[in-house]
């Protein structure tokens, strides 16, 4: 072993600050006023780990959880009890019987899905409403579905159902459902597109905001007081000297401008940072934020560290909490022309998730 180092081997890791998740949920809950929060865990909570984020969100007052796929919802059910878990993306292999057994709230988006869910014994149902969001109910099909639901309810075979709203359209969808005799319970909509006067909306759906990512009400998450939960860092594997004018990494898209030192980092596109991040994405090594030098390879990338004090085994931070002086996922998103939610979500399974 390299002298001076001990403990488990350092590899690229994503450290998830669950205190930030709790703070963000409290802040979003306060902004939601009397409405409850449904926290969307899709994409393994944008790569943060659904089980851990769910626990933190519920501890901070979230009233319900959602995740697009029934299989992921059932997996969440093994640690989350007595809280609604909503799932809305179905294919022919979706197991509605297992969903019913795990008390998953199933959102149906077509008449076929409604029949399949009822036949499978799903007790908790919601109708997915096509406003500007993407759903299969056209206006006519929505009316048909409401009639079916109302008839099942009047026969005592189905309790109140919810509505999952896309982007807007709450009042008309609720009015239509009620006129057709549907007994409604939870109505949830995307938080960012819900105004304070949409009285029918009982629950706000939040997702990446909980992780301190992406835009909320037209502002960046960090501009509205939300904290990024994920910090991605990788150890320095080697340091070498290089003369001025030395080409670095594949294709030599970077040349040193002075006699300098180069630090090799154990993170690459196989870990989920874009190959295109070379020369543009920020990275903090030895207390200084610079740029990745040259093309990102599958398993490594390089930083030009000049005369900074850096040793083999030191951590380089790719993105984290700007309040701690680290580059943010938002800066990565700007450099890559994408969103901070995308940047964090795309870290691969090779990056070890740790929680604090």
């Amino acid at each position: 072993m390299t002298p001076g180092l001990s403990g488990s081997p350092r590899v690229a890791e994503a450290v998830i600050d669950l205190a930030a998740v709790r703070d963000n949920v409290r802040s979003l809950a306060a902004a939601a006023g009397s409405r409850a929060l449904l926290v969307d865990m899709s994409g393994d909570a944008h790569g943060h780990g659904a089980a851990q984020v769910a626990e933190a969100a519920l501890a901070a007052g979230a009233a319900a959880l959602g995740t697009s796929r029934v299989g992921d919802a059932i997996a969440l059910r093994s640690t989350v009890h007595a809280v609604p878990i909503v799932a809305w993306q179905h294919t022919r292999d979706t197991d509605f019987v297992a969903a019913a057994a795990a008390s998953i709230t199933v959102v149906v988006r077509s008449s076929e899905q409604l029949s399949a869910a009822i036949d499978a014994g799903v007790a908790s149902l919601q109708l997915g409403v096509d406003a500007a969001g993407f759903a299969a109910f056209g206006p006519d099909a929505f009316v048909d579905a409401c009639r079916s639901v109302a008839s099942l309810q009047s026969a005592g075979r189905l309790g109140p159902v919810g509505l999952m709203l896309g982007d807007g359209g709450a009042a008309s969808a609720c009015a239509t459902a009620r006129e057709l005799g549907v007994e409604l319970d939870a109505v949830h909509a995307v938080a960012a597109s819900t105004g304070p006067t949409d009285d029918d909306v009982t629950m706000l759906r939040v997702g990446a905001e909980v992780l301190g990512l992406d835009e909320t009400r037209g502002h960046r998450a960090t501009d509205v007081g939300l904290r990024p939960a994920m910090t991605v860092r990788a150890p320095v594997l080697a340091i070498k000297s290089a003369l001025r004018g030395t080409g670095v990494s594949y294709g030599y898209i970077y040349y040193t401008t002075d006699d300098t030192r180069l630090a090799l980092l154990s993170i690459g596109y196989g870990d989920g940072i874009d190959r295109a991040a070379g020369n543009v994405a920020p990275i903090r090594v030895g207390g200084v934020t610079g740029r990745i030098a040259g093309r990102v390879a599958m398993d490594s990338c390089v930083v030009d560290i000049g005369d900074r004090v850096v040793a083999v085994g030191d951590w380089a931070v790719l993105f984290g909490d700007p309040a701690a002086g680290d580059p943010s996922a938002e800066e990565w998103a700007d450099a890559l022309g994408t969103s901070s939610a995308v940047v964090a979500s795309r870290m691969t399974a090779r990056v070890v998730r740790k929680y604090r």
């Binding site: 081997p9 994409g43 096509d130 993407f134 030599y252 596109y269 874009d274 490594s300 994408t338 399974a349």
Partner: protein
């Protein structure tokens, strides 16, 4: 039944490996299964390669190398690892007869220190211009001399010399080849003679005889992904190994008469958001453009009837009218290697062939 899956065609993989081995002969081929075999499954593909006669596997890291040994690939197959955490313990790797790349004297000593009667078999790395791992020209004689000393003690065997090249241009690569030859000559003068010399990966290994030396390490080409511009897999005698399929989960008719088609795969599953506006997905033998990619879904724009439940092929061999992952990479401005490697474990792999 799983409607979303990455189908891994092991027969195509076998054929690619055979073709590449013949192309680089008399040099040997090392099949590189790092990063979970570029998303194809390191264990499944390594076992298949070994069963089909491959004798050299590259894994990058020691845990993958150990897992392949533990799955039954014996020491008659070379398994090569070369990138380590800063405080790596080499004991298990040396005991399992894993070949180790070494760039620094402190690593070399750590490997020698855990040799258990049989010397640690090492590949000394020279940096020929990539500026990643590898001893610099100045450090090289020191590394070689220390290897010679430890070899005389019986704790290591200086089996190979190797490098990575930058592939910036043919001229730059020629310079790297020259530096590699110089490093071999320096070692010869110091009395260290390597049994295996390897420099080239997929690109130079396929095109340049003077880059092959005794062995060529190939990843991308084994998966049927050409590394050069303007060449199809077929033109190289290769077949793409991964085909990514799903089914249409919703269809919507927009006010302007277009059809929007939703697929249940998004960026958390590994679909690059940059694909929007650039690549096509095949449904029913026709290609439709990707217009957006969300966390768990994506939307195509169709100009012909598409129904919920229709099978969609994102990329693959082209047999169902789909693009290849090499084409996706070209259109997005990256390598097909990056796309397949980042397809997430949320997409089940199914092995055929």
């Amino acid at each position: 039944m799983t409607v979303t899956e990455a189908v891994i065609d092991l027969a195509a993989f076998d054929a690619n490996v055979r073709h590449l081995a013949a192309t680089v002969a008399p040099a040997e081929l090392m099949v590189v299964v790092k990063a979970d075999a570029y998303g194809h499954g390191a264990l499944e593909t390594a076992l298949r390669a070994a069963r089909s006669g491959a004798t050299r596997l590259g894994t990058l890291d020691i845990p993958t190398a150990l897992a392949i040994r533990a799955a039954g690939v014996g020491p008659d197959v070379t398994i090569f690892a070369w990138q380590y955490p800063p405080n790596q313990d080499f004991r298990a790797a040396v005991a399992a007869r894993i070949d180790l790349g070494v760039s620094r004297v402190d690593e070399l000593r750590a490997m020698a220190a855990v040799a258990d009667g049989v010397p640690a078999r090492l590949h000394l790395k020279i940096d020929t211009g990539l500026q990643r791992n590898g001893a610099t020209t100045a450090e090289w004689p020191v590394l070689v001399a220390e290897a010679r000393r430890l070899q005389a003690e019986g704790s290591v065997r200086a089996h190979g010399i190797w490098t990575h090249i930058a592939e910036a241009s043919d001229d730059e690569d020629s310079l790297s080849i020259m530096r590699f030859r110089d490093a071999i000559a320096v070692a010869d003068q110091l009395g260290v003679h390597f049994a295996v010399r390897h420099l080239a990966a997929s690109s130079a290994g396929f095109r340049r005889e003077d880059a092959r030396f005794d062995m060529v390490r190939m990843g991308g080409h084994c998966w049927g992904i050409p590394s050069f511009d303007g060449v199809t897999p077929l033109q190289m005698g290769l077949r793409p190994v991964m085909t990514l399929v799903t089914e249409v989960d919703a269809v919507r008719h927009t006010a302007d008469g277009a059809v929007e088609v939703e697929l249940p795969l998004g960026y958390a599953d590994g679909i690059p958001p940059a694909a929007a506006g650039l690549v096509h997905v095949a449904v029913g033998g026709r290609q439709y453009p990707v217009v957006s990619v969300a966390v768990d879904s994506m939307v195509l724009r169709a100009d012909a009837p598409v129904r919920v439940g229709d099978r969609a092929t994102l990329f693959g061999t082209g047999d169902d009218g789909e693009q290849t992952v090499r084409q996706w990479g070209d259109l997005i401005g990256t390598l097909g290697d990056e796309i397949v490697t980042r397809i997430a474990p949320s997409v089940p792999r199914r092995y055929v062939g």
